[in-house]
């Protein structure tokens, strides 16, 4: 039986269709999780996709974190379920306190839409277990608030515990320590600004997202 992957849909999400298609492509069974439903519907993995949940009003993720589905996602995380937040989804997970730190406006104040280089820093996370540490991936970013920031103690813990999952090879947004993605202490929650679902086929310019996407369905 293929693994069921729930993709959360908020008003203003805009990457959920790409994510559903990418899950299908790697052999999973995707399902939409509506933000107003207080359940994850028995799925095997959850993706919080990109977009502008609730218009990014106040701050990205500030309103989305209070959605009924997020309580269910927090419970799923506590039970050890794999959860990946991409772009706006990463912002939602930090606002919800499921990942540390915050995502600030990009250094240079430019909205970035480009394919960037990433280095896999650890294969010990829910997203990177089929990726090789040290491997370089080319995956698109598409954000205005992707500049990862956290206090010095948090940064020291992320590094000491090998929780920086992906780093930019050429930092595009000012993120502290070139961080593109991190995981929680239990390593089952991963947040990243780049979009693996947009790098799921050579026709899209890169298939480097496939090893990451496969981790959701196997």
């Amino acid at each position: 039986m293929s693994r069921r992957v729930g993709v959360v849909l908020f008003p203003g999400s805009n990457c959920e269709q790409d994510m559903l298609e990418a899950v299908r492509l790697v052999g999973g069974e995707p399902t939409v999780l509506w933000h107003g439903d207080p359940t994850v519907g028995g799925v095997d993995a959850v993706v919080v996709p990109g977009g502008f949940a609730h218009g990014d009003y106040l701050r990205p993720g500030a309103i989305a974190r209070f959605s009924p589905v997020m309580d269910a996602v927090a419970g799923f995380v506590a039970d050890g379920g794999p959860v990946v937040g991409i772009c706006n989804g990463f912002q939602v997970l930090t606002e919800a306190g499921l990942l540390p730190g915050a995502l600030q406006k990009n250094r240079g104040l430019k909205f970035l839409c480009a394919t960037v280089g990433l280095r896999v820093e650890t294969s010990d996370s829910a997203l990177t277990r089929f990726a090789e540490p040290g491997a370089e991936l080319r995956i698109p970013v598409n954000h205005f608030e992707g500049n990862y920031t956290c206090d010095a103690d948090t940064l020291a813990a992320l590094k000491a515990e090998d929780r920086v999952v992906l780093r930019y090879t050429d930092n595009p947004n000012g993120s502290v320590d070139d961080i593109a993605g991190i995981c929680n202490e239990a390593r089952n929650v991963v947040g990243l600004m780049p979009h693996p679902e947009r790098a799921s086929s050579e026709l899209l310019g890169s298939a480097d997202g496939l090893p990451l996407l496969r981790a959701l369905v196997a």
């Binding site: 106040l58 701050r59 500030a62 209070f66 930090t94 606002e95 540390p100 730190g101 915050a102 600030q104 406006k105 990009n106 250094r107 240079g108 104040l109 500049n147 920031t149 956290c150 206090d151 000012g174």
Partner: protein, 94 residues
């Protein structure tokens, strides 16, 4: 009833980036000012201003409620803090 009388307080929450957090907007404004002839401007920080009225029994309970709002919703304590100004307005809450 008299003991239940609630007052209306006017609230101004200024959301600021915490000291030490980089402020790309502030830096951009600061760089732009000299080109417009405004010299000698330093330490520009851009924040948010949120205003609303709140009903409460007294100023202390209004302040406590607003501080709770700031902590849970109006600010992200990782990068922001808030300055809260509360003033009593004329008239009781309806």
């Amino acid at each position: 009833m008299w003991e239940d009388a609630r007052m209306v307080f006017s609230v101004h929450v200024e959301v600021r980036l915490r000291p030490g957090i980089a402020d790309p907007q502030g830096a951009t404004v600061e760089r732009a000012l000299p080109s417009l002839g405004f010299d000698g401007v330093r330490d520009v920080r851009v924040g948010k201003s949120i205003r609303f009225d709140v009903d409460a029994a007294d100023e202390a309970s209004a302040r406590s409620e607003v501080e709770d709002m700031c902590r849970r919703f109006l600010t992200n304590p990782v990068i922001e803090d808030a300055v809260v100004v509360i003033e009593e307005t004329a008239g009781a809450a309806s």
